[in-house]
Symmetry: C2
């Protein structure tokens, strides 16, 4: 018993229907479709085969059939056809980025919003990882004796600062000098490489406390990593509109999973190196969301991936549409960010 074209076509029809209605699909529903000219009895036979092959499941004897996760996997791999957004939708996305979005956070928030409101699922966007961003300028600002604020300006217009300890008694002029040397040495250096840079001319100044520089650079490095706080969530309540979450306990477990963003952060960072990723139900490592599906995509700045965006929805999510949205929105946010970066450079 093999999965011939006709079975494929029927499975597709079942999945398409189930994605729309969330109710088990009966044989008559399929046989009535205009491009399937088979009686319900034939469909029943095929469905029976598909069930035996593990693509369909029956909630109970006298109900219709429901696609299994295996079916969805097949669907996204082979059956599903690429969907395109309408012109109006593309315009809509474009409009969302046309306003004055001059801050990374603002762009990330807006992206999450567009994605959730167009998909009607819950969306999440991970802020750009700034490890690839290059240092433009470093300035140590004295705060009190023994403490200074290290300010880093990068080529993406992003600035970060962190309080660091400096050797007590260090003068304003000395700090200035260190700033100048650091800037000269680290200019153009990507954040991720900061720790490994060697700055011989400072060894003399800091002989007594050679830890200082390493600590400072490590602290700096850390401020560029937002952690779970770098996850922007949107449309969490959209999920409650789907019948699969009308059961309170399921709704609660979903909401609990996204309340602390740790799980989402983990998912998004792990997906940082694949263009598109689709995890269906049990394929997700995280217990709490094993009856959801997660679709992620990366977005880029100047050609290299810097962040991830994702949609989390019911397993019967409209994968084709979500992928189309992600392609388009991913491209848009990539462009906007790249422009922002060039402008600042």
């Amino acid at each position: 018993m093999d999965l011939d074209m006709r079975k494929m076509r029927i499975l597709q029809a079942i999945i398409d229907d189930y994605i729309m209605t969330a109710t088990p699909v009966g044989s008559r529903t399929i046989s009535k479709l205009p491009d399937i000219s088979l009686s319900s009895a034939t469909i029943r036979n095929e469905m029976s085969d598909l069930e035996e092959m593990g693509y369909l499941e029956q909630p109970h004897t006298s109900a219709g059939r429901v696609p299994s996760e295996k079916a969805y996997r097949l669907y996204v791999n082979s059956i599903m056809q690429r969907a395109e957004l309408t012109e109006a939708e593309k315009r809509f996305i474009k409009n969302c980025y046309s306003n004055t979005l001059d801050e990374v956070d603002e762009i990330v928030r807006q992206t999450a919003w567009v994605l959730s409101s167009m998909s009607k699922y819950t969306s999440m966007v991970l802020k750009p990882a700034l490890t690839a961003v290059r240092i433009k300028h470093i300035q140590l600002v004295p705060v009190s004796d023994g403490r200074a604020l290290a300010v880093v300006v990068t080529d993406m217009g992003v600035t970060r600062d962190t309080l660091i300890n400096v050797p007590r008694g260090m003068s304003y002029q000395q700090l200035e000098r260190v700033s100048r040397i650091l800037t000269a040495r680290l200019q153009g250096c990507p954040i991720r490489d900061v720790a490994s840079v060697n700055i011989p001319e400072l060894q003399a100044d800091l002989n007594s406390q050679r830890e200082f520089l390493n600590n400072a650079l490590a602290a700096l490095h850390k401020t560029f990593d937002d952690g779970p706080g770098g996850v922007q969530l949107s449309g969490a309540t959209n999920m409650l509109n789907y019948p699969e979450y009308s059961d309170m306990s399921k709704a609660r477990s979903f909401l609990a999973a996204i309340e602390t963003k740790d799980v989402l952060y983990k998912i998004l960072t792990e997906a940082a190196d694949v263009e598109f990723s689709i995890k269906i139900g049990q394929e997700n490592q995280e217990k709490d969301i094993q009856d959801c599906s997660v679709v992620t995509a990366v977005y880029k700045v100047g050609g290299s991936a810097v962040g991830t965006l994702g949609v989390i929805g019911p397993v019967r999510m409209d994968y084709a549409r979500v992928l189309a949205l992600m392609r388009h929105i991913g491209k848009s946010v990539s462009e906007v960010l790249t422009n922002l970066m060039e402008e600042e450079r």
Copy 2:
């Protein structure tokens, strides 16, 4: 028909019971209480009176009675007695602040967590408003021609920065000079007054673009206002444990209300000038949360109020306990923040 002591006592018993059980309270339940030696018939008569007076409501004829919002108002105003936390609870709170909490954000997050996990409701904490914080140091860091980063260090260890436009062609030395003058002039000045300070010696430097300074100061001022982003939320899913939210549509409207933090921000900022505030159901201005109650309190740094914390829960919330928690946690966070600030000063 007046509200004599006995009626008060009965109303209190009804409210106490309803807060615990969330089910309409019958006359027998009350008459069986050890310190009420009246028959259920007598209680019924009293209940009938209380209903006529608007303190009780009947879901339907053969159900018990439920306190009205008017009753809760009376309860918090006159009936409720001050509750105290147990020693163990006080210790618990203390422990929560004993770890290395060296950042304001960390303290705020921790506070929200303690408050929600001890109250079992949803909690929110507004970050300290930094308008009262005093400037310690200002440094302009050149970024590119015409742009600089203005870094402000305050006496609370909080630093903020913002990109500003500076007159093109301004030299590094000039920026240095401006920094020094600004620091000298603004040192000790609370953020809120920054805009109104006059700095005559800079007029000469900036004659050609006298807008520059004002814009820069305004931009700075703005970075100290977190807006809705300054609301830390915790325990949102706690609410789903209460039967009043087992109705999906109510749960959804609550979750929608807190998803964007705008509403909460509004509530918390408006409550910034009252030590404790209790809003019961319809007393809340915001439509979305009119079947919740909101209790807020301010916390202080060095004696003056800088932020607000709040609990949002069902109208039948345990007001006495929540107030006790808020008193205690409010005091704790005030102390921790005050210490942090002194240390940095």
